[in-house]
Amino acid sequence: MFRILVCDDDKQIVEAISIYLTSEGYEVLKAYDGEEALSVLEEQEEIHLLIIDVMMPKLDGIRATLKIRETKSIPIIILSAKSEDTDKILGLNIGADDYMTKPFNPLELTARVKSQLRRYIELGNKNEKTENLYYTGGLCIDDERKEVIVDGELVRMTPIEYSILLLLTKNAGRVFSINQIYEEIWKEEAVGADNTIAVHIRHIREKIEINAKEPKYLKVVWGVGYKVEKLN
């Protein structure tokens, strides 16, 4: 039974999230500002995940996260109406594992919570194999078994999709243009404009990302190409 702390100064939002999470089987604790969150984390029994808002009185989410990160490494999801890139970057840099903007899709929230929890548990059960194992963040490709595992769950892929994803994941962080991908996969020169690659990418994204519109792993560099983000 996972225990999740939800912290937001808007009581209704906390209530709503709590309903979603308890319906998924999690135990939910509540806090309404940063200081309360800190004290709950201190006093209560082990908490496995924290969902925290940024704009709160007394102690805001960013500072609370910093404080928590001094002692704990539990997954933290920041949930905020601040949707600018700068806000997201800030949140992720100071130690949050994920950043969601309001208004949010409750299903997406739940999915992310699950994914984070899986990862958290998984870290304890890491396998030793390093060969032919390419991973970035929660995405792991086992080239021996030709398997793609995202956050512990197996994802089915077509061969083409697999090749593309493998190529990009092997070279995580590097951007490949459509033509480059084509040439790598088919070992031929790219002929003519072709949007099949783009379609494949789209499918891959649908499969491995929680929210295809805000991909975590497979990202589009518009006008240049595609890449898989290099996460630790």
Partner: protein, 758 residues
């Protein structure tokens, strides 16, 4: 305060009276003696004494000298024969005594007057009288120089006698007699002046001229006093006087008639003054007296002057104040303009001065006429001083009140002139100044002749000053130039130091300073308002999103509740849609406002539009399929690079493609084209509209305008506006073309060179 002033004035009046009085007394004390008359402590050391001594000595010499002619045994003897003259037919040979000459003189019109001066012409000769005679014999002492004769005389060589003119000879005798009388007058009084002139020969002293016969030379020598002493043995004159006695000395030596080998001369004034009636003693007393007055007078004068100065200064200092630390109070007259007041005062002084002169003339007192001159001048001076001082105080007050120059007509004239010149063409002004410069220099050159030093000084000063003005102007311009460059470069903080500049340049600097300040202020304001706007957008959007979150969440929760009622479900669905619409709208709003205000940080990179369109095609493949829209693609094989922000460009395309999905007629073709046209890269997307487009293309890109469509669609109406703004922000052109149901959107971007490899 007032009392003190009154006291000061009274003191000043007293001081003036003292000064004037002292001056007056001193003047008359020194009158006819000059200022240095009383320099010496003792009379005997003074110049006057020397003079007196001299006069006496000369008189003594005269008496001795002339006495040899007119005296017998020390007494005047008018019957002493002087000359023997043959007058031929007229009078025969005759021995003339002094008396005879006097008589003859009277005949021809020469005589001695009361002052022992010879009067008359001496030409009233009787008829037939030639006025000449043959000089057969004359007394040797009769030192008559033939060549000095008035009349021309034929010097007949060989003749035993010379021809003389009776007239001139008589004149000579009378003159001598007159001088003798004069000397006698002086010498024959009882006096402290003792003289002894002795000519000696081998046998001892024989001829002694003295007025103290009872005393010997030694006795006389022993007297204390001022003296001169000389004898044949002495090399030079022995004297305790400070005068040049050479002439007398010479005379004694020259007139050694007795041809003696020894002589001695002593003249001495006995300063114990045994005789109280003589002129020396009188003079001595007078001198003492005069000197006392002199000292006292000078002292008084000194004190008076000091007092005058002090009171003067004090009055100047307090002039204008009616109370301690008070303000300057001006009299009516003080408030006049400077020049008229000045003239008034001068006029008053002039009139008063004239009046005093007239007054004294009118009340002319002949007895003190000579003295009167000085008195008159003194009174005039006092009057001038008094009026002048009052005038001075008036001007001092003006200066203190600061109106001296300010209220001067000259200044006003200059200001007015400047005004006129300012209004006038500044070129004219420049020409005038140059002419002035030339004129002054010309005047200096012309005056060089007469007033060389002054002219040179004036030339140096004037030209030096002109040069200084020129340099100063140039320097000021330079400072201005530097400052302007700085301001143009963006230093909004820069301010000119106005005190370093002058005249026009100072004005310019002041204006530039205020311009720059205005610039700085508006830049600051602009920045502030930009920041405010940016903050506003984020804050507002944040404030909207928070409650919106709750709405969406709870609607979703509602949906999960087991509800059977159809109507309720329908209502929930409506709420859901609208809530979602609100969300889209809020997002779009923020984006639109940022795009339109340019508040976006673009990350410009070189991207390939072909690649981008391919990616987009991939993204929308399914959606197009769902709506039975068929893509017809026309794109080149090589990349077409543009400089843009990839994400933003994607947003534009996403919007256009999205519109096609939303508003395109099902089961039609969508033409997508990318091509290079000249220096540009052109993307276009054409489709057939589901609905009637009865709006102009321009209007569609306006905010919140949508086609005449049903209400249930998702769009917020901002899409095209955002797309257009984003395109323009990246330096491109966004065009819409509508023809019937045909809808065409074009994006034109400038082309850049390809970067090899990635």
């Amino acid at each position: 305060m007032k009392r003190r002033k009154v006291i000061a004035v009274v003191l000043q009046v007293i001081a003036v009276i003292i000064v004037a009085g002292s001056a007056w007394v001193l003047h008359y004390n020194n009158y006819q003696s000059g200022e240095k008359a009383y320099n010496k402590a003792n009379y005997e050391d003074s110049a006057k004494f020397q003079e007196q001594f001299f006069t006496m000595a000369e008189a003594v010499i005269d008496k001795i000298h002339l006495g040899s002619l007119f005296e017998t045994n020390g007494e005047l003897d008018l019957s002493k024969p002087i000359a023997k003259i043959d007058r031929g037919e007229f009078d025969g040979v005759k021995t003339y005594s002094v008396e005879d000459f006097i008589r003859f003189g009277k005949q021809i019109g020469l005589y001695l007057d009361n002052n022992n001066e010879v009067q008359g012409e001496g030409n009233e000769l009787s008829e037939g009288d030639s006025g000449e005679g043959l000089l057969l014999w004359k007394l040797p002492e009769l030192d008559y120089n033939i060549e000095e004769d008035f009349y021309y005389i034929d010097y007949d060589e060989g003749a035993e006698a010379t021809v003389v003119s009776m007239g001139s000879l008589t004149y000579y005798v009378l003159e001598g007699l007159g001088n003798y009388y004069k000397a006698l007058d002086i010498v024959s009084v009882e006096t402290n002046f003792i003289y002894r002139l002795a000519y000696g020969n081998d046998t001892g002293e024989q001829y002694v001229y003295t007025n103290a016969p009872e005393r010997s030379l030694e006795e006389i020598k022993k007297l204390s006093g001022k003296y001169i002493y000389n004898d044949i043995h002495a090399i030079k004159l022995d004297s305790n006087l400070e005068v040049d006695w050479e002439p007398i000395n010479e005379w004694i030596v020259q007139n050694n008639f007795y041809d003696s080998s020894a002589y001695s001369l002593i003249m001495i004034v006995d300063t114990s003054y045994p005789i109280k009636t003589d002129s020396f003693y009188q003079s001595h007393i007078a001198y003492e007296h005069g000197r006392q007055i002199f000292i006292a007078g000078n002292l008084c004068l000194g004190v008076g002057l000091v007092l005058m100065c002090l009171t003067c200064l004090y009055l100047i200092y307090v002039s204008g104040y009616h109370s301690e630390d008070g303000e300057i109070v001006l009299t009516r007259l003080d408030q006049w303009y400077t020049e008229p007041a000045l003239f008034l005062w001068i006029a008053i002084i002039y009139l008063v001065q004239k009046g005093i002169g007239l007054f004294f003339n009118y009340f002319y007192i002949p007895a003190i006429y000579q003295q009167q001159q000085y008195t008159v001048e003194l009174v005039k001076l006092i009057a001038i001083y008094a009026i002048g001082f009052v005038a001075l105080l008036s001007f001092v007050r003006r200066i203190k009140a600061g109106i001296f120059w300010r209220d001067s007509i000259l200044r006003r004239a200059i200001l007015r002139l400047n005004e006129y010149l300012d209004r006038g063409n500044h070129l004219v002004k420049l020409v005038l100044m140059f002419l002035l410069f030339l004129m002054v220099n010309a005047a200096i050159v012309l005056a060089l002749d007469q007033y060389m030093t002054i002219s040179i000084i004036a030339a140096v000063v004037f030209n030096g000053y002109s040069l200084h003005l020129l340099l100063q102007r140039e320097n000021d311009r330079f400072i201005l130039k530097e400052g302007i460059y700085k301001i143009a470069a963006g230093e909004t903080e820069y301010q000119f130091e106005e005190n370093l500049l002058h005249h026009q340049e100072k004005e310019l600097a002041m204006h530039l300073n205020s311009i720059n300040e205005g610039l700085k202020n508006s830049v600051d304001e602009q920045t502030k308002s930009e920041r405010l706007k940016a903050d506003l957008i984020t804050n507002v959007s944040h404030d909207i999103k928070t409650p919106l979150t709750s709405i969406i969440n709870y609607i979703d929760l509602l949906k999960r509740e087991p509800i059977e009622d159809e109507k309720v479900l329908e209502y929930i669905e409506v709420l859901n849609q609208k809530a979602f619409r609100l969300k889209t709208l809020t997002d779009d709003l923020v984006e639109a406002s940022k795009a339109s205000s340019g508040n976006i940080n673009l990350e410009l990179m070189d991207i390939d539009l072909v690649e981008l369109v391919n990616q987009t095609n991939g993204e929308f493949e399914e959606k197009f399929c769902e709506n039975q829209l068929q893509m017809v693609i026309a794109m080149p094989e090589e990349p077409l690079m543009i400089r843009a922000d990839g994400r933003r460009m994607w947003r534009v395309l996403e919007n256009l493609y999205g519109n096609v999905v939303k508003y395109g007629m099902k089961d039609t073709r969508v033409y997508i084209e990318v091509a290079a046209k000249g220096n540009n890269v052109v993307f276009s997307i054409k489709n057939v509209s589901k609905y009637e487009l009865n709006i102009h293309a321009e209007e569609l890109t306006e905010r919140f305008v949508r086609g005449d469509v049903s209400r249930n669609t998702e769009g917020s109406g901002l899409g095209l506006s955002i797309a257009k703004n984003l395109t323009q922000l990246q330096g491109g052109v966004f065009e819409l073309y509508i023809d019937g149901d045909l809808f065409k959107a074009t994006v034109i971007m400038p082309r850049t060179e390809e970067i090899q490899g990635y």
